[in-house]
Symmetry: C2
Subunit: 339 residues, 2 copies
């Protein structure tokens, strides 16, 4: 341990290890940094490693970071933790990070709404870069001001402050949904839209209206929770007869709300009303009937995002990419009831 007048057994430093092994601090640094081949003898390296183990030496990261000017750590900013989508993005990104000796720290932006407090007030680790997933553009100001390399996932690709973008083909996903419903014969729709301000939802609305240009579409907005979605759907369905025959939801959570609304009004899903979700959360198969929804490659976008960030940090500009999504047809959709 370092000489402390008395008491407090402060953590051992590389100098303490050096003393114990009978070598200089530089040698310790070389050996433990795996940079010693041909510069230090096997025997000495062994002595150093033994001494380090003996003392329980752990390098001081703050000092290392200062010296290297880099932390090999990135930050993943997500709008909310409540859905497993972002958990899966994290998993993928952390995996790729690990393969390259990088760490990944997670920052859940409060509520997923509002201009968001400074992410670095809470997750204030020293960082090399930032990945932001599906967050609103106005939540970016504090990230921008750091000047850190930024990769955006599932976000407006025209946002220029990002060094790279990785997107999902959300528009195609919505097109698959509408194609499916049109093929079943539906012509009168409700779009149960998220009131959260996010690019991904703008795209969903856009693609839906483009695809259903010839059909009848009513739009209802609600926050991203089951109760609010149920209320909104119930109000929309309570209108004049004949009811719309299909509800297209921006999200599985809202779709669950729509299903509850239908049940309250005595409508059967899918016989009287078809309901579609988006994201393929665990919830989609937890409810009855199971939801027809769009599966997103969450882990993969995480991996690609991290890879893009690593490329940016390397100086090599990464090719932006768009990942395909896939409609899963399950029990919540069927042909409309005969008129």
């Amino acid at each position: 341990m370092t000489r402390t007048d008395h008491g407090v057994p402060s953590r051992p430093t590389s100098r303490d290890v050096a003393r114990a092994a009978g070598v200089s601090q530089a040698t310790v640094s070389l050996v433990l940094g795996e940079k010693w081949h041909g510069r230090v003898s096997e025997r000495t390296a062994g002595l150093v490693r033994d001494a380090a183990a003996e003392l329980g030496y752990r390098p001081n990261l703050a000092a290392r970071n200062l010296r290297l000017g880099s932390t090999r750590t990135a930050l993943l900013v997500v709008p909310a933790l409540t859905t497993e989508f972002f958990a899966r993005v994290y998993t993928g990104a952390a995996e790729t990070a690990g393969e390259h000796g990088f760490g990944l720290v997670l920052y859940p932006s409060p509520d997923g709404v509002g201009p968001a407090r400074d992410p670095f007030a809470s997750a204030r680790a020293t960082l090399d870069g930032v990945i932001a997933s599906s967050i609103a553009v106005d939540a970016l100001t504090s990230i921008r001001s750091t000047g850190l390399p930024l990769v955006m996932l599932d976000s407006d690709p025209t946002e220029a402050s990002a060094a790279a973008h990785v997107n999902l083909d959300i528009a195609d996903g919505m097109r698959q949904v509408t194609d499916h419903l049109l093929a079943l014969g539906h012509r009168d729709f409700i779009h149960l839209a998220s009131s959260v301000d996010s690019w991904t939802f703008d795209v969903r609305a856009d693609a839906l209206h483009r695809a259903l240009r010839g059909a009848r579409v009513r739009t209802v907005r609600a926050p991203l929770n089951v109760g609010a979605a149920r209320q909104a759907a119930e109000a929309a369905l309570a209108g004049p007869v004949p009811h719309p025959t299909a509800i297209v939801c921006d999200d599985d959570i809202m779709a669950a709300g729509a299903c509850k609304a239908a049940r309250r009004l005595g409508l059967r899903v899918p016989e009287d009303l078809s309901v579609t979700g988006f994201d393929d959360l665990a919830l989609a198969t937890a409810i009855e009937p199971e939801l027809t929804t769009v599966a997103l490659p969450a882990e993969q976008i995480g991996r690609r995002g991290m890879a893009a960030l690593l490329a940016v940090l390397d100086g090599t500009q990464p090719a932006p990419g768009t990942l395909p999504v896939q409609l899963l047809v399950r029990g919540s959709t069927a042909p409309p009831p005969p008129a």
Copy 2:
């Protein structure tokens, strides 16, 4: 900017600010550290702040951490991100942290099972302390080896490596569930137990068996997902008649699976079969019928946990606490069908 021979506009340092303001680096440090009252004139302080703003100065955290020997940042380790329970714990803990000028970084232990890789390989920020929520004891080894102060939430209180514990009264929650079912008249139970190795589930099982000592109880184990829980419940219900009349589940997710199993077997919930959950996830009110379950004060345990860690860091030993939980009776429980 610091003198770099050419190119790369490296970030300005406090010395650059000092130069620009015509003062010494020490003065910059005083002013920006808000430690200057009575030591630096208002005028000079203004000059420094202007210069800092002008240059876009941001202090180098690695250097500050090294100097201070502390980062004012803690790590929250959770077993999985897939349920909103831990998201709420994080929210509470981050709130309290923020009030004390602390940051909070999140580490989702992979899968929530297994001996868990080194948390610090992924979330490698330099840290002052660790809070671990509901994680298995064997996942602690790498945390223990760091010697960092550790606060455990909803975990085995006999685990001595923790500096403090904050627990939920899980046993009482389970007792409320069993009391409710016994009062309704149930005498034949299935316990759909989580196969995850965690103290919180051990307690649930223990409390259940203690309370139902006089009744008939069959135990079935399954992983924490809807599909596996459904299969397990279906198998258990397919046994000899008469069926048990109530399924007590370790978790809302498993309860959702149990409800699906019931439907497949033509049993109505709650008329033919009562089902209870635990945790009061959003899922509990997303399904039909809504689940009778136990609500946990997630944000509060997060706040208390962070407060305990701050106390430990201050040298003041915090009083350990146990937080109350509450049964929410909803639509998934009813008296058993007449024999």
